[in-house]
């Protein structure tokens, strides 16, 4: 079998497609490993602790979501971390073995091992040096890039306002670098330095960031904040397009009203991203114009903007043809037809709670999970302060509630961000015990 050039080129030619999943549930980076296209086994909820409720601490709550399981729809693990610090969002490491979870108040980052046994996550590292290393506050988005975690932050330690940046840690949890969101750039849009979400399209070397508000606002009571005209001016009105390779901003896009989650269409032939602005209640399409110049354009209202329904999360279908939008104030989960992304049309809505925040769909779009908490001081009060995780089935016509976990009744807290995991069936670590007794393959 040996040739003059050896076996390597020959084996290259023998390459066969394997069955490994190559796509992600739609709300994550599409460039992760070990992605779940089928049925998710577990759902993890990063949950804000509530004083006097259970242990009062922030916690990672794991729910069994595999139909047919004896504990289907039940909490199977609760992993509390010390104290409360405004638990908010999470993101997987590039190899999906670890889940990074941030807190917006004390800026701590907790790294959970979800690869060894996703039914029982383990806290393996707590990162406490974000502020001292970067000067930024409020780690929000955790977006994996190869060997590293790119973190979008919301604020800064100097004035707790909205000027902020991105921070990179390596996968071991060591600080690597920081990149400020621009506060001045040539062009029509006024750069404002705010940050929120991050989304990358590697084929285009295009990275988008969006913008929210600083610590002083997101930690304030929502009622007092809305009544403070000066404070209400302190929200981001821009998105930034970056040269990802160079980590340099190339254009500021005018998107008034706090553009939040960013989703690139996962359809390989598409070249656009979409976001929703919370305060102006609009969908924005970001794509190149006929001259190849990137532009942002508002393409649809979400509900009645005059009533400030407050769109807070979106979830795009795997084929890029539809988009779920949760609006916090009216508790609605809305579906938009995105077949023409320049003219989205709402085709369905349902009240899914008295307040709703995150929405996550399975890859096949048949399951839609909804949680309730926005921020500890922004959640509704009294009886409207429902805290839950709900699963809805979607048959193309109707959302039907399958089950609900009451996070107050269970003594857990405020249910916020969700991530899926699946059992790593049929694999073992590479160690002496496994490999040493492996039969040498025939040649």
């Amino acid at each position: 079998m040996k040739t003059s050039r050896g076996l390597l080129p020959f084996l290259f030619a023998l390459a066969l497609p394997l069955t490994a999943a190559v796509a992600d549930e739609t709300c994550n980076s599409p460039y992760l490993a070990n992605l779940i296209k089928g049925q998710e086994d577990y759902l993890h909820v990063w949950t804000l602790g509530v004083p006097g409720l259970g242990d009062g601490a922030d916690k990672l709550v794991t729910v069994d979501v595999k139909p047919g399981s004896p504990k289907y729809g039940k909490v199977i693990n609760v992993l509390s971390v010390p104290g409360r610090g405004e638990a908010h969002h999470m993101g997987f490491s590039d190899d999906r073995r670890y889940l990074w979870a941030g807190r917006l108040d004390d800026s701590k980052i907790f790294v959970f091992d979800v690869g060894t046994d996703p039914a029982q996550p383990k806290l393996v590292k707590t990162i406490s040096d974000l502020v001292s290393k970067s000067g930024y506050v409020g780690p929000h988005t955790f977006y994996p890039i190869p060997g590293r975690m790119l973190i979008g932050t919301l604020s800064n330690a100097r004035d707790k306002g909205g000027a902020t940046g991105m921070v990179v840690y390596n996968n071991k949890g060591d600080y690597v670098a920081s990149y400020p969101i621009p506060t001045s750039m040539p062009g029509a849009a006024q750069a404002d330095g705010y940050g929120y979400d991050i989304a990358i399209n590697p084929r285009r070397n295009a990275m988008l960031t969006s913008s929210f508000t600083g610590y002083k606002n997101y930690m304030a009571d929502l009622g007092k904040l809305i009544a403070d005209p000066a404070a209400m001016k302190n929200f981001g009105n821009t998105m930034v397009l970056w040269d990802f390779k160079a980590m340099k901003p190339t254009k500021v896009l005018n998107t008034p009203g706090a553009p939040l989650e960013i989703r690139w269409s996962l359809n390989e032939n598409d070249n656009w991203a979409i976001t929703a602005s919370a305060l102006t209640s609009k969908l924005w399409l970001i794509r190149p114009d006929s001259k190849g110049e990137w532009q942002a354009r508002d393409v649809a209202n979400i509900g009645d903007p005059a009533k400030t329904p407050l769109p807070v999360d979106i979830s795009i279908a795997a084929d890029g043809k539809s988009l779920w939008v949760n609006t916090f104030m009216d508790g609605k989960t809305r579906l938009f037809d995105l077949r023409d992304p320049a003219a989205p049309k709402q085709v369905y809505e349902k009240v899914t709670g008295k307040q709703v925040n995150m929405v996550s769909q399975s890859w096949d779009g048949k399951r839609v999970y909804v949680t309730s908490s926005l921020l500890a001081n922004w959640d509704k009060k009294g009886a409207d302060n429902e805290q839950f995780l709900k699963l809805f089935s979607w048959d193309g016509k109707e959302l039907r509630e399958q089950w609900k976990i009451d996070f107050i009744k269970e003594g857990l807290g405020r249910a916020h961000h969700m991530k899926f995991t699946a059992k790593a069936a049929g694999a073992a670590p590479v160690d002496g015990a496994v490999v040493a007794d492996r039969s040498v393959p025939s040649r």
Partner: protein, 210 residues
């Protein structure tokens, strides 16, 4: 052999499409991501040496492989990328002498120095301006700290009886290492674009010596 020919005609590694002009070499900075771990390795002649001998002194492009890997977005894609880069680097021999490639095995049990020698063939020729080293370790105990140090995930698939199979699961990662032995860039499948990697190599070559 006929079966092999049939397979060859229908298969290609799924390289990502680059739909942008890469920034000019030297116009951007690659941050120091992490130090390269050390450990004892064996070359394809069976000679033992510290890994740092292969990760310092030149700009190094390193990936983990196993010789019988057939995942089209795994080792074969890395090989395809390395091969294209090799051709482009060899067009400038003076530049090529400042760069090396390293392919290191996940599987010291199967990928002995002799197996790697057979696998590499003329690609490992010592006289080439661009040296391509094919390395393994004495055993898994020697390998484990190295892959952990790089942050390279890998598991072995088990069959229905729980026995190890011939399939390693791993996220393809290619590590770009500067002459001081620091990882300066990491490429997974979606980022494995030869023109971009060449620009990164040249960016590191343009840096002044410390």
């Amino acid at each position: 052999m006929l079966a092999c020919i049939a397979l060859i005609s229908g298969v290609a590694a799924a390289a990502p499409r680059q739909q942008f002009v890469a920034p000019a070499p030297g116009s951007y900075r690659l941050e120091a991501i992490q130090p390269v771990p050390d450990g004892e390795v064996l070359d394809s002649e069976g000679a033992a040496a510290p890994l740092r001998r292969y990760t310092t002194g030149k700009v190094t492009l390193l990936s983990f492989i196993y010789t019988y890997c057939v995942d089209p977005v795994g080792c074969p894609l890395a090989f395809q990328t390395f091969s294209e880069l090799r051709t482009r680097l060899l067009a400038n021999p003076a530049q090529a002498r400042r760069v090396r490639f390293v392919s290191m095995s996940f599987d010291p049990t199967n990928d002995t120095p002799a197996a790697l020698r057979n696998y590499a063939g003329s690609l490992a020729a010592p006289a080439s301006p661009l040296r391509w080293h094919f390395l393994t370790t004495r055993n898994v105990a020697g390998l484990r700290p190295i892959i952990d140090g790089f942050g390279q995930d890998v598991t072995v698939n088990l069959d229905a009886q729980g026995r190890p199979t011939r399939l390693y699961n791993h996220l393809l990662k290619v590590f770009l290492i500067d002459a001081r032995g620091r990882v300066r860039e990491i490429y997974t499948t979606a980022y494995l674009m030869p023109e971009v990697i060449l620009g990164d190599i040249q960016t590191l070559l343009m840096e002044r010596a410390p």
